[in-house]
Subunit: 335 residues, 2 copies
DNA sequence: ATCCATACTGCAATCGATTGCAATAACGAA
DNA sequence: TTCGTTATTGCAATCGATTGCAGTATGGAT
């Protein structure tokens, strides 16, 4: 393995000059710079990132922390997660950063201490703030650069990037109403930030349509198809002749619900229309195809990275909620 | 930020002693050790991993590289991927390692240079060897510790962990045969290592059942539901009255195919039985529920980590294929 | 009293870069 | 000729730990 000293020797300059030359510091004579660079190239020299880190106190690494729900041990809709993770990875690579991934189940190290103070990472991207996470609140009182994917409370003192969950949900439910639904259930756990927004959107739509809210129609449901299936069987079947619509806070839940309905002989969408949220890969390919709300994963991932780097440059980064898109498919096609 | 020097000063010992004491080196007097440890604890001191890395030439970090198919830009069945990634992350954390994640799309740095030589990582876990990846072959000629998730050719000179794809596929197809299917199609891209094994298993089953192979029944299909849907429409519909079974190399493909069939009015499983591979979350909750083969993600992830660490300890690690489990559900229930 | 083994402890070099500051050279101005 | 500038370059300290080797003290054996 070559070191900077070797390159310097080969170029017949001091290490200082070699170091500066490699980073194209204009204080070094142009010819010298080119010579050093050429030699480094020739010998395939790369600076040792550890040594550089130690000296500069920067790691050129970003830690991505995936938050799991304390109870269900599940992250927000898995397929969505993988997608945004991919986008973030690409974006970081593109900007010259490495990505440290951590799936924070329960007990956990103190993020600031572990990642920032220990110089393992220069900034944090946190995905999925379950139920108002204390650790995030705490981080915001420190000087740690970080961004969060999730729902903005509107007055957070940290940067949030997320989807317009509320208006997206409203659009979906309004669509169900437009399809003639008058008794629409909500499936999801509104103790979770993002789901809460979807729940509020659901209420907005009902209100606008002049439909009454009905506590019996609101079922706290985990993120899984399984729980969607169970809750539907247990709590929606009794309401059935009257119930004519379901808005699920995630596609997985919606698919579970549809499964239960089909087994029970309920015609979707004729007797009951269903809409979900996420547009996971399967949604278009189940039967009937699921009406859902699609999040802008690509811009989401890019924005997270962009705003984090912005913070690391000492600038302020505003929170931002991305528009979503309603995709109407068979599961709600009653007309 | 405290440094080792501070702790040493507080404990009134030299840095050397402090360093040894912290790592519980028995050469240091027990009382001294305890005193140093106690002080470190009290001041919440943690050694700086960068400095340690520089000195020890170890990073206590493992790079996980997710390989994408060159053409489809897709990794092996997404949901499966996220699962195993989670297991690996937990397992590494548990062993005291950080995890550097990289999604290697197309062009890419040289893994050895970038991760190992630069000391960014002590070892590599590579997930999904698409079509015989040259870079892996190359790695195996170096001294880099690494393990691969995928299919073992049986005579690789590197460590592979994967599922018993062949026997799993055979079990699934034999099950279809047992359900009375005589004309079974295979959907998947057998240019991909793992899928090739599933394809061979498919052939095994047909052979054992005395059924003829038929090239018309073998459709090269991408990993997506979309492609399963398209290929089914385009190439299976013409064969339909006779065709009575489909074995898809992944659940996503199977679900796409089922969708096409249902739209076309084909009764699953009565007229045609379907089986997939993976047991993604949706498989149990689509209609009809999908018969499939479940991989042992948990042990897979654990084994990958275990065998990698084994190599890093200088030991030899054998390849290993994990048993899979056939889950029979409605999509193949013809009797 | 002398010598040696044993048990600790600390000095100082080292890992591989970066950077403030000083040193040198070259050049024109006074 | 002398001096201030400007352009380059290099010395040496520094980042925060780890570790080979030497040094000291203690106690027992002879």
């Amino acid at each position: 393995m070559m070191t900077l000293a070797d390159i310097a020797a080969l170029a017949e300059v001091s290490e200082s000059t070699a170091s500066r030359a490699l980073r194209d510091n204009p204080v070094v004579n142009k010819e010298t710079r080119l010579k050093v660079q050429q030699i480094a190239q020739q010998y395939q020299f790369n600076v040792n990132p550890t040594a550089r880190s130690l000296r500069t106190q920067k790691s050129y690494t970003i830690a991505v922390i995936i938050l799991f729900d304390a109870k269900s041990q599940q992250a927000i809709s898995d397929p969505f997660l993988l997608e945004i993770l991919g986008v973030i990875a690409d974006e970081l690579t593109h900007k010259g950063y490495d990505m440290l991934l951590s799936t924070s189940k329960t007990k956990d190290k103190d993020w600031k201490t572990y990642y920032i103070d220990a110089k393992r990472a220069d900034g944090l991207i946190i995905i999925g703030q379950g139920e108002h996470d204390q650790r995030i609140e705490q981080l915001s009182h420190s000087r740690v650069p970080f961004v969060v994917w999730g729902a903005s409370s509107g007055h957070d003192n940290f940067t949030v990037v997320g989807s317009q969950n509320r208006s997206g949900a409203e659009a979906a439910v309004s669509h169900l109403v437009a399809q003639g639904c008058k008794h629409i259930a909500f499936l999801g756990d509104y103790r979770h930030n993002e789901i809460e927004q979807r729940y509020l959107g659901y209420q907005d739509a009902l209100q606008k349509a002049g439909l009454a809210l009905n506590a019996d129609y609101e079922l706290i449901t985990d993120f899984t198809a399984q729980d969607g299936y169970l809750k539907t069987q247990q709590q929606l079947f009794p309401l059935l002749p009257e119930l004519d619509g379901i808005f699920a806070a995630s596609d997985a839940i919606a698919l579970g619900a549809m499964k239960a309905l089909q087994e029970h002989g309920v015609q979707v969408p004729q007797q009951l229309a269903v809409a979900g949220f996420d547009d996971i890969a399967m949604s278009a390919y189940c039967s009937p195809a699921l009406t859902t709300v699609k999040q802008d994963t690509i811009n989401g991932g890019k924005l997270l990275v962009y705003k984090l780097l912005q913070q690391m440059d000492g600038e302020q980064a505003e929170s931002e909620l991305l528009p979503v898109r309603l995709l109407t498919r068979q599961s709600s096609a009653r007309s």
